[in-house]
């Protein structure tokens, strides 16, 4: 058997075997890649997965809040990047809540740089931040004579309309504090604060290999290189076949 014949058989042998074993990775790359090209249509960013085994695999652990801010008959519960008013998700609140009070039938909530006003159904009335606040950095909220008082790094500011602010020189303001959540809210806490990731993030991690851990991206680099080699060997075998059929 000539050296060339041996080489052809060797390439064909490994082309088939490597292709077979790598096909699983190729299929996942194709499926995730096509899906990611249509993120918006498929709503990948909006839909989440929270299967406990997957969260554990990805190293995401639950850190369920046990306290919240009582506002009337409702509770504002928050983590570092999510907040709920009982079972209503407060989509606009993206930082940890530093305080919440019930005010004129509304719920006034502060995080580190914004004052939010919601109605009892969690509809956003207004959000006041930046130059519309008396000071940019907030630390808490309280009530004084039925008016909202904001705690800032430069003192306390009072308002009756969340538009105009008056600096207060009073020291002993009752700032709102967290209290332990009643058992009736545990289910809501678990439903809202158990770890989850968007489908988009999951597919991105699958596509890049990060889902397989620290060396996952290197694994996908290897798969990509294998695909490259398979392409070269496939083209070479095809050209050989074409040349043979021409000779005949």
């Amino acid at each position: 058997m000539s050296y060339l014949t041996k080489a052809i058989r060797w390439v064909r042998h490994w082309h088939a075997r490597i292709g077979f074993f790598a096909s699983l990775f190729f299929i996942s790359m194709v499926v995730s890649g096509v899906a990611l090209n249509h993120t918006k249509t498929l709503g990948l960013a909006e839909n989440t997965v929270s299967a406990p085994w997957l969260m554990q695999w990805m190293g995401l652990r639950a850190d369920l809040p046990t306290e919240g801010y009582k506002v009337g008959e409702q509770y504002v519960i928050s983590s570092s990047d999510k907040a709920v008013l009982d079972s209503h998700i407060l989509h606009h609140v993206r930082n940890e809540v530093l305080g919440a009070v019930s005010w004129n039938g509304l719920v006034a909530i502060v995080d580190k740089n914004t004052l939010y006003l919601f109605d009892s159904s969690a509809n956003l009335i207004d959000h006041i931040g930046g130059e519309n606040l008396p000071k940019p950095s907030l630390k808490g909220i309280g009530l004084l004579n039925q008016q909202v008082v904001l705690k800032t790094e430069n003192g306390a500011y009072q308002t009756d309309d969340a538009l105009h602010w008056k600096k207060l020189s009073i020291k002993n303001i009752a700032w709102c504090e967290k209290s332990a959540l009643p058992k009736s809210l545990y289910q809501i806490v678990e439903a809202n604060f158990s770890p989850s990731i968007s489908l988009e993030k999951m597919l991105l991690d699958l596509h890049s290999g990060r889902i397989f851990g620290r060396y996952g991206p290197l694994l996908m680099d290897l798969v990509a290189f294998i695909l490259f080699l398979l392409s070269i060997s496939g083209v070479w075998m095809y050209l050989r076949v074409m040349r043979h059929s021409h000779k005949k």
């Binding site: 606009h92 006003l117 109605d119 509809n123 956003l124 009335i125 207004d126 959000h127 930046g130 130059e131 519309n132 538009l163 105009h164």
Partner: protein
């Protein structure tokens, strides 16, 4: 070899790291081009009037939803008004992040349009006067569209669309604020 592979590899690595450290903030940081205070001083000749509010009633909400393609973000819109001129600071998502823009309306026409804060990684060309001047004099038609065409910017389509929606919204809000008074 006459060239040192190890040295070339290390240089490339360092270069890539340095490039990524400098490019990342440029690519993804929030950029404020004009503060609200500066915008208002510009709009009202250094004499910013007091704040007023427009409540988004059911009817106003429906008109806003028609313009935006979604329900308005909040039920109370703050604005400033003086000598028949109103100024609106609005936010609308371009691709993934909100763009903050200011519009000055007088006699039902846009007198000024400015980009205050831009947060996307691309498309910030909308802040340039060459683009924004297209909005000057624009009015709202019966169908709640602008009565003059706005040429887009290649690579900034979503940001341009967001600016258009905010321009239409500001004109509608201005009209409502005059009806309410």
């Amino acid at each position: 070899m006459w060239f040192d592979l190890e040295k070339i590899r290390k240089t490339l690595q360092t270069g890539l790291l340095v490039w990524s450290v400098f490019m990342m903030p440029i690519a993804f940081a929030e950029e404020q081009y004009l503060s609200q205070e500066e915008f208002l001083k510009e709009a009202f000749n250094q004499q910013t009037p007091a704040l007023d509010v427009l409540w988004i009633t059911k009817d106003v909400g429906m008109q806003a939803e028609k313009i935006l393609g979604h329900k308005p973000n909040q039920l109370r819109q703050r604005y400033w008004k003086k000598d028949g001129k109103t100024a609106w600071v609005l936010e609308e998502i371009g691709k993934e992040e909100p763009i903050t823009a200011g519009f000055v309306i007088e006699a039902g026409k846009i007198q000024a349009a400015r980009v205050l804060v831009y947060r996307e990684s691309r498309g910030a060309e909308i802040r340039y006067p060459a683009f924004l001047k297209q909005y000057l004099g624009a009015q709202l038609t019966g169908g709640a569209t602008l009565n003059q065409p706005i040429d887009g910017i290649s690579g900034a389509t979503l940001s341009v669309n967001a600016m258009n929606r905010m321009a239409r919204l500001a004109l509608m809000f201005d009209s409502q604020s005059r009806e309410n008074k």
